[in-house]
Amino acid sequence: MRVIVRFQILFGDDQDGALQSSRPEIFSIRSCCKKYYHIPAEWRANAVDFKPELWRFANGESTAEHFEQWLYAHPELEAQLGKDVYVALISFHFDSADRAEVDALRSRLRSHLEAHGERSCGCAKWKDRDMIRLAETQSSKAFAQQFTLLVEHDENPLIQFVQCRSCNQRWLMRAGESGLQWSVARLSRSQDLAIIQDHSWPDRLIDEMAHFSDYEAWRNRLKPPI
């Protein structure tokens, strides 16, 4: 499979990354790039952003066991969370806590994340596979401007590999027909490297995104939380 890799300059005003559409009724992030560059090394090794993993646990999408392992592997998290919440997390008895205790911890973490300006990056709250339905008053263009197009799938150009400008999380995205619905799939580090380095796309996801562009159909295909 041939993959066209196109990169756009990150600086400049927001219009540099503005979406345009070959069909006026379809909003996408494609075809807006004026300049294309190779992938800068710092993008590949961009600073770890902890928010998606924290939100995954807060939203009940990752298990306590997985979160505990991740927690112990990232001692630098204290600087981002603050001492109180961090100590509460590392002191928690993940292995023996009952469901209510884990839920209470999730709730505390969620409250902390919401109270500390984490709303600036909306994508951190999304589920790994999600359907984002914009409000009627919400601009699709403004939504798409939150992301930078990295690679466009050559067989399904409406499916795009993008990076959040706020937290650097990489996503596969596809706009629905109205531009008010977006199917999104969070990419793991290995998945995003596979696309960039090996031009290897996650075929199952691509297939599902290609065939299920409307809200309900995609919604029905979403996996239940882990």
Partner: protein, 129 residues
Amino acid sequence: MVMANILVVDDDKHFAELVAAGLEAQGHSVVVGFDGQMAIRLAKSVRPDLIVIDVNMPLTTGTGALEFIRKIPATRQIPVIFLTGAPTPSFYPTVEAHSRVAYLKKPFDLESLNSMVRQFLEQYGPAEP
């Protein structure tokens, strides 16, 4: 002699069990773990009076585990003895940065370990219940 609950952690299971047997022979009660994350987990749940831990281990190293153990209120006072083969340059500053920490270079004889354990327990005593 003070008898204590001791947590022994080493990714070499045979070695960990050997150390545990040596400590049990002295009358201590011993729990064994095999990596740094187990060390943190067991330190929280067992609340040992002393931790004897290897430095180089998978998932989280012994020194990495110490950083967590010192931050958790329930475990921060637990004395720690590191067992180390070839300490890296960063090992010594870590040891010096914390109180209630000592190390024993591998290979060592069990009497050296028992002696250090005895000294630690006499100095710091079993943790308050």
